[in-house]
Amino acid sequence: MKVDTGFLDALKLGGEFDARLCINCGTCTALCPLGLEILPRRLFRHALLGDRERVLGETDAIFSCLLCRLCEANCPAGVHIAENVRALRAVLNQGVQGLAEA
C-alpha cells in the first residue's frame, strides 16, 4: 500500500482522528457486539498510514459501528475509538458520499 499524506491531512490526524496510541492488542475487536473483524484496529492502522482505498472500502464497517464504546471503556491504550469512527464517517461523508453538506 502507498501512504497518501493528502488523506492524512483530510483526517486531520492528531485532531479528531487519532489512533497512534493503539497497541494493536485486539481488545476492541474481541468486545465488539457487532463482531466486526476490521474494526477498529486494522481499520485505524489503514487510516493512520493514509491508505485511502482501504478505508473507503470499509464504509459499511465504519457506518455500522454502534458507537457503544464497550471497546473504548476497555481500551488499555486509551484510544478514543468512538470519536475516531465518527471522524472517519465525517471524512467519508465529505469526500466520498458526496455529502457536500453546506
Partner: protein, 574 residues
Amino acid sequence: MTGRKLGVVVCQCGGNISDYVDVEKVRAEAAKDGDVVSSQVQMFACSDAAQQSVIQEIREKKLDGIVVCSCSPKLHTATFRAMAERAGLNPYEYTQVNLREQCSWAHTHDRAAATEKGVRLVRAGIAKTALSQPLEKMRVETLPQTLVIGAGVAGLRAALALSDLGISVHLVEKADHPGGQVRRWGTLFPNDKVGQALIEDLVGRVTARDNIMLYLNSELVEKSGRVGAFSVTIRAANGERIPLNVGAIVVATGFEPYTPAPGEFGAGLDGVITLPELKERLAATAGPLTHRGQPVRSIAYVYCVGSRQPAEEGTRRTYCSRYCCSATSHLATVVTGLDPKIHQFHLFRDVRTYGKYEALYERALKSGSLFLRYSEEDPPAITRENGGLVVRVHDRLLAGEEVEIRPDLVVLVTGMVPRANDDLVRVLKVPIGPDGFFREVHVKLRPVETIVDGVYIVGTAQGPKNVAESVATALASVSKAGALLLKGYVDLDPLVARVDPTRCTWCGDCQTACPYGAIDEVEYGDRHIAQVNAVLCKGEGACVPACAKAAISVQGYTNEQITSMIDALAKEVA
C-alpha cells in the same frame, strides 16, 4: 618443615561450617604440621573477642604467619589483614582458607567427605603461608594536578568540578574549539536547553578559572609514571611539546556519530541525512524545515542505523546507542512545533526511551508522529524513484504488508561509535572493550575507573550516553580523582610480579607479554635481567606463563607456593 611458627584458626561460623565439617578434626590435622605451633577453634573468628584472642596468641607465641579457615576471602581478607597488623604481624603473612562457600555449604550432604576436603584445604593454606614473605604496601605521593583529555560537555564539566576542589586542571582539546558534539546541536531533550548555549556557559566559566589551562589543537603524546605522579607530554598547536606532571588523568574524548556506508539505508541519496545533520539543520533554522528550498512536508526516520547490528564476525556495533530514541522522539516534537501539519513516520526496531524519557515518546506519539516497527531481518529499503524518495517497509501491525512512504526527507537515526584514537590508546594503555570504547574496571561498582590506577574514563569515551549521563560520569571521575589527590598519597597493593635474578637470563618474553609496560631490562652484574616496575604492575601474572625459566612470579602465587599447595591438596588424609 620450614622452621616457621604458624598459627591456625578454624571458624565454626556459628554452625555454618561446624554443622557440616568436623572442625575439631580439621584443627587436629592442621596441628600435626611441623610448622604449626598454635591451633584453635573459634565460634566466630571475625568477632572482636575472637580477634583479640588471636592477636594475643600471635604475640605470645611470636607467630610469623597465620591461617584463618572461615568464609570466602572475598568477605574477610581485609578484616584479618588488619588483625594481623594490630598483632604486629605482616598482613601478607596471613592466608584465608575458604571453608564455608567452597566446602561446608557445597557439601552439606556428606560430613566425612567435607571434613576430609577441609583438612586438605587447610593444609594448602598452611603450605602457602609457610612460603609467604612479608610485603610492604607501596605508599606513593600524589600531585594535586590533573589532565583532562577532551573539552566536550563531559570534559568541561569535569574540569570545573576539579577546579572547585582546588585541583589544577590541564584541559587538552584536539580541535580548534571546545564543546565537542553538543556545541553543534540545537535544543536538547529533555528540557529544550540549546546545546550551544550550554557549552558557551561552560566555556565561559572554564576560561574564568585561574587553575584551569585550556590547550586547543593539542594532543597527549606521551605518558609515563604512575598513579599520583604521571609525567605526560602535550603536543600543542605550534608543535611545541609541553611536559606536565599530573596525579590523575580524566579521559573525555567522546564519540563519533556513525557514518553510514554509501547505500546503507539510502545513504548518499539526495534527501537522506543523518540524525546529527537534522539536529544541525534545526539548530540553524527558526522556521519550518526545507530541503533544497522546498518545504519539507513529511519525514521518515529510520532508527538503529549503525547500532544493534547482528553479532557477526568483526561487528563491533552490537550495542544500543542509548540516546537516539529519546533524541529523535524529542526532535519530532521540535519539528511539529515548527510545522504542526508535517507528517512524521518513525521506522523503529524497539523504542528505548527509557526512564523519564518515555514522556518524550508519548509526546511524539501525540503530536504528529506515527511509529512503524521493522525487524532486524527485514529492514526498510530507501530508494529514489521519479525524482522522489521512496521508503518501503513491512508493517508488523498489518501482518507484514509492504507500506510505501514518499517522504521529502529521510533521517537515518545514527548511533554512536568510538573515536578513532589508536595513538591515544597506545599512549594511555587503557584497555578497549569489545565494542571499541574504553573499558572500565567493573561495570557496576567501578564504572569510571580503569585498570590503570589514576586514569578515569568518562562520557561517551566509555560508551554511548546522553548529556546527563555523560556529565554524571564526569562528576563521578572527579570524586574519584579528588579522593585520590586530596589525600596526598596512595597505598598500592604489593602483590605484584617479581623476578628471581638467579634464574632470569633476559629473553624479553615477559616484557612482550606485559600489557602495562611494567617490565624493564636492567643490568645485573655482568648480564641483563628483567625488572618489574611495581607501581605499573597489576599483578595479574600475564608474564608468568611466558617465562620458560620460571624466573618471574606474582607475590603470594609463586611457583613454590602453588606447587606446595597442590601437593598439600593431593596428599592423602589418614
